[in-house]
């Protein structure tokens, strides 16, 4: 941990070697954070902006917060800005001319799921409001402490715990819905209208629940 902090400070002083090592350590985390939420080009660009910001600002990093969590905090902010830009442009959630497989508007994922289970997880996560999704990811995938998650989301520690609990409930419900919904598998689409109705809910719900 200190190691990371020392590297960041060194990078801020202009030592490129340090920057390289830091980048190598944490690129996966930061890029991965964006990759299941936005398209590939955006993921790369947001990753770049995140690292640029972290080396250019002179923020202090709080005690008990790792550099990794610090980076994820910056990343979350960049993501919110990105969503705001999209909303301002007023783009429709889905364009009919694009492939179903992958493009759902600004939240399109550039991550390709391996296998049905992972696909299910990603889709269920994507149904949660953004900060709930982030909370779950940070806790389970990044193993951040409650304190760190509080820092990243700019909320109190207590709120983190309750949010996580609520998130679990939401996930369960999302999974149940997905399971009941005739999924995007050709072998199970039998009732087009029901599927279309659930698609419509998903498409419209996305804009309503975010944030």
């Amino acid at each position: 941990m200190e190691d990371d902090l020392a590297l960041l400070q060194a990078w801020r002083r202009g030592e490129r070697d340090a920057g390289s090592r830091l980048l190598r350590r944490h690129l996966g985390t930061v890029y991965g954070f964006f990759a299941n939420k936005v398209v590939a080009e955006a993921a790369e660009e947001l990753t770049q902006r995140t690292f640029e910001t972290c080396v250019e600002t002179r923020d202090q990093i709080y005690d008990g917060v790792t550099v990794r969590a610090y980076l994820l905090g910056i990343a979350r902010n960049k993501l919110l800005q990105h969503h705001d830009e999209w909303r301002r442009r007023g783009s429709k959630a889905v364009q009919a001319g694009e492939s179903l497989a992958g493009a759902m508007g600004p939240t399109a994922s550039s991550i390709v799921a391996r296998g049905d289970q992972q696909r299910l997880v990603l889709r269920a996560l994507a149904r949660l409001p953004l900060d709930f999704q982030v909370a779950v990811e940070l806790f389970y995938w990044e193993s951040l402490s409650v304190l760190e998650i509080a820092h990243v989301l700019a909320i109190a520690e207590g709120t983190v715990k309750s949010r996580l609990a609520r998130a679990r409930g939401m996930l369960k419900q999302a999974v149940a819905e997905l399971d009941a919904e005739p999924a995007l598998t050709d072998s199970t689409i039998r009732d087009l209208d029901k599927w279309i109705a659930s698609m419509r809910r998903h498409v419209e719900g996305d804009d309503a629940d975010a944030g």
Binding site: T47, Y140, D186
Partner: protein
């Protein structure tokens, strides 16, 4: 039974790990290092390919631009993720291999298939096409409907090739069609193509719900496709087959011709509902697309798959129907007017702007080249050792593609030639049909005849080729993309069509001696047929394929011993097409001399005809070859000049002037290295101009000849 919802209680296990894409991460790392730290990037490799950047990502995987250092070329690499396990990976690998087996000019070529180091992802390395997607091409400038049609027909041929190999595209749309800068259209992203296996279900996983197993037409996997281009049966029942591809193709065709898709909706949901209703709108009033083509589009968009065309071959035929009826129209008109070439020209001239003398000469020249090729029996297949050489068919196509004031005349000439060559080939087919051991060759003659005239019922009946194969043959004849084996087969046909017994035997021997020659059984049959009498296959009379027999025959035989052509344009066609007489060796020199005189007098076409005759008698006559090379050089046909000069050099390696000529021709097409080789040899042989040529070359290339 535990539901997936229960699983969430076992949080951590269920959520698993964050999914990663190591290849993409590598690339991003590389780029950020260079942007943020000004570091030289480290190469990211897949197998032997160097990744340059991500081009895009789709449902099944990501596409990267890459470089192959071994072959020094750029390509595109698609990395597919779907292997949850070894089975999944194996299935993907099989798909990739199926794609690699598809070799067709209108399908993006697959160069390599393999597994990425992590063992989970399959990569497919494909050609990188320099061009625009169909959508961009349409948007770039207003396109006339015939051009749109021609581009779509090319794409359709790619689909046809896939269908014939048992593959279905499943996601045909304008974004998956590339119009190359070289004019060739390629279909890509067969990433969704799966071998449609009607009987077996691929890797039936135990997780799949029972309903899935029952549907025998679908392959397991996710439903993907683009809503606007999906067929109704694909949406409703998940049925995917060649007719679904046909539907998607026609949606794209509609969009390309009219500027809008036939089934519109504001979002996915509305679009899918519109497709399911399947009620295409009438074409815009301002559209100039002909009604017959609109009917073709409509049929392909039929809601019931059985109502659509039987297959892509029939659809493409229907899309091209104006080409055939146009020829018939013109020929019909010509017959009614006692068709001689001159009279047909006069009539059409009266109706159109005046073509220039230069244009008319060009038409004559191309027609003469067609006849020259036909004289060598290169109707559809070129010579084995010179696959780029002109064939009669390619020359006919060249005539048909003449634009401007002269196009009607050129078309008429092409139509005549088509009928003539088709008739010759049919006659050859008839000849060998009756002979023992000749049926297979006859079938090929009939097929070749159908390349020239697809309407010949008689030939259709007797050939063993399917419509799809005939399409493929016509395509290959168009762009000379024959495989070596096909060229060898073509030579057998040429041999059997030779009317001079000595030449026939010589060509047969040459063919059978080749290490890559025909199989022993074919060779034996060939030999047996060759021993007998030659066929009476020379075309002296005009074709009789049409209703009324044509009246005055086109100008024909001049006594071959008089090696002088008349000075007007018409006569060009005759000498090469005269009755079969061998010019003996002494005569060959006379022919060459006569050709020189014609050429000096400015009658290049006559000279050319004479030289071709000379070469018929003696293929390796160096002087004739060199003289022809000169002619082509003067006419700025540098590639032809290269071919003949190269043969001249091969025939007479010590003749330095031939090397200079060959070097000059190479120079003109910017093949500087090849030019250098020839100039240096010429220098070594003592040619006085060689040194100066090398200086010029150095100036041009900035190199040094002093080694």
């Amino acid at each position: 039974m535990p539901t997936p919802a229960d699983a969430v209680d076992d949080d951590r296990d269920w959520l698993g790990d964050r999914p990663r894409d190591p290849v993409a991460e590598q690339l991003v790392l590389q780029r950020l290092e260079s942007k943020l730290l000004e570091r030289r990037p480290v190469a990211v490799m897949i197998s032997r390919y160097l990744l340059l950047g991500k081009i895009g990502s789709g449902g099944l995987g990501s596409v990267y631009e890459a470089y192959d250092p071994q072959l020094d070329r750029k390509l595109a690499i698609k990395v597919l993720h779907d292997g949850k396990d070894a089975d999944g990976t194996a299935r993907l690998l099989r798909e990739g291999q199926a794609l690699a087996r598809l070799a067709h000019p209108n399908v993006v070529a697959v160069h390599d298939v393999g597994v990425v180091e992590d063992g989970q992802s399959v990569f497919i390395a494909m050609e990188r096409v320099d061009g625009l997607t169909l959508a961009d091409w349409l948007a770039a400038q207003p396109r006339r409907w015939p051009d749109v049609r021609d581009v779509m027909v090319q794409a359709g041929r790619g689909l046809l090739a896939a269908h014939e190999a048992g593959l279905v595209h499943r996601d045909f749309k304008p974004a998956n069609v590339l119009v190359g800068a070289d004019g060739r259209v390629r279909v890509l992203d067969f990433g969704l193509a799966r071998a449609v296996q009607t009987a077996e279900i691929e890797s039936a996983s135990t997780d799949a719900p029972p309903a899935a197993i029952g549907s025998s037409i679908t392959a397991t996997g996710t439903l993907m496709g683009t809503p606007a281009y999906m067929a109704p049966e694909q949406i409703v029942r998940g049925e995917v087959g060649p007719r679904a591809d046909q539907f998607g193709f026609c949606v794209a065709l509609h969009e390309a011709l009219y500027g809008a898709r036939p089934f519109l909706g504001d979002d996915v949901v509305q679009t899918l509902l519109a497709v399911r209703r399947c009620e295409p709108p009438p074409p815009p009033a301002s559209s100039r697309v002909p009604a017959w083509l609109h009917r073709v589009v409509l049929r392909g968009l039929a809601k019931d798959p059985a109502a659509r065309f039987a297959g892509m071959a029939e659809l493409l035929d229907a899309m091209m129907q104006d080409q055939r009826s146009r020829r018939r129209q013109r020929l019909g008109g010509a017959i009614a007017l006692l068709a001689t070439a001159a009279l047909a020209v006069a009539v059409t001239l009266a109706l159109r702007p005046e073509p220039t003398a230069e244009e008319l000469e060009r038409v004559d020249r191309i027609a003469a080249e067609a006849r020259a090729a036909a004289a060598h029996r290169w109707f559809v297949y070129p010579p084995i050792d010179d696959p780029d050489a002109s064939t009669a068919y390619r020359k006919v196509r060249e005539l048909e593609s003449q634009d401007g004031a002269v196009d009607a005349i050129a078309e008429d000439r092409a139509a005549e030639l088509r009928d003539e060559f088709a008739a010759t080939l049919v006659r050859l087919g008839d000849e060998y049909w009756a002979r023992e051991g000749g049926a297979a060759f006859a079938s090929d003659y009939y097929a070749a005849a159908l390349v020239f005239d697809p309407d010949l019922e008689h030939a259709r009946q007797r050939t063993t080729l399917s419509p799809g194969e005939l399409h493929a043959l016509t395509d290959k004849a168009d762009d000379a993309s024959f495989s070596p084996a096909e060229l060898v087969a073509g030579e057998s046909l040429a041999v059997l069509a030779e009317d001079d017994p000595d030449r026939r035997r010589a060509r047969t021997d040459a063919l059978l001696e080749r290490p890559d020659g025909p199989a022993p059984s074919t060779g034996a049959r060939l030999q047996a047929l060759v021993e007998r009498e030659p066929p009476v296959a020379t075309t002296r009379e005009p074709p009789v394929a049409r209703a009324a027999p044509l009246e005055p025959t086109p100008p024909t035989a001049i006594a071959p011993e008089v090696p002088v052509a008349r000075s007007d344009g018409d006569a060009l066609e005759s000498p090469v097409h005269a009755s079969p007489t061998t010019a003996r060796r002494e005569d060959v020199d006379a022919l060459v001399a006569a050709a020189k005189r014609e050429s000096d007098a400015g009658r290049a076409d006559a000279a050319e005809a004479l030289l071709h005759r000379a070469l018929r008698a003696d293929r390796d006559h160096a002087a004739a070859l060199a003289a022809l090379a000169h002619l082509y050089f003067e006419a700025a046909q540098y590639h032809a000049a290269i071919r003949f000069a190269a043969r001249a050099v091969a025939a007479a390696p010590k003749q330095s002037s031939y090397r200079i000529l060959l070097g000059d021709a190479h120079f003109r097409v910017l093949a500087y290295d090849d030019a250098r080789v020839q100039y240096e040899r010429a220098l070594a042989l003592g040619h006085r101009s060689a040194a100066k040529r090398l200086e010029l070359l150095d100036e041009r290339t900035g190199g040094s000849s002093a080694r």
